[in-house]
Amino acid sequence: ALLVATYRPRAPQPPTTGGGAMSQNNPSQLLPSELIDRCIGSKIWVIMKGDKELVGTLCGFDVYVNMVLEDVTEYEYTAEGRRITKLDQILLNGNNIAIVRIYIRTPTSLSDCAKRAG
């Protein structure tokens, strides 16, 4: 297979600087979907539109970035507090996905930081 499943934090090529570099047909250009493809099998952190975050292992995705996730923890931030839901395997609609990251620390710690910062 052409694509590598394991996530490599640093891409082998330097980032392109602008339109000029982008317009060259650079074979090492990394497509956004390739970046997600490298996360397959890894634990990822998905931040949704509207006070919702999910952490789980990425099993696959499609052109709409609908995702199949495994061993998922869902964090909902409501006026009453945080609600945590554990889920076995889900198909997440890509429509409300804002940010996808490799999971490194708990969403709790970051949201707490945000609260402290105001």
Binding site: A1, A5, I84, I90
Partner: protein, 99 residues
């Protein structure tokens, strides 16, 4: 080049996951199984998944409607239009706790 389509068969040895499972694989695998469907509004529907398509339109049987984790309604058959669906989950385990 494969860019997230249904033809990623070779990769996926990165972690605990095993083989790659795309959204279309998932849809095929869950028909007839008990599922939890969460809508964008936050309402949960639990029941047996009778039928679904690529738009995430869903037909369910023995459907129970949960609002804030509390059972509000039961429907013998229910149709959910796909645009409202946040996620479809296999319902092996599921628990909630407030904080």
């Amino acid at each position: 080049m494969s860019t997230g389509g249904a033809d990623k068969s070779g990769s996926g040895g990165g972690g605990a996951g095993g083989p790659v499972k795309t959204p279309s694989d998932f849809l095929k695998s869950i028909r007839g199984r008990p599922v939890v469907v969460k809508l964008n509004s936050g309402v949960d529907y639990r029941g047996i998944l009778a039928c679904l398509d690529g738009y995430m339109n869903i037909a369910m049987e023995q459907t129970e409607e949960y609002v804030n984790g509390q059972l509000k309604n039961k429907y013998g058959d229910a149709f959910i239009r796909g645009n409202n669906v946040l996620y479809i989950s296999t319902s092996k385990r599921s628990l909630t706790d407030g904080a």
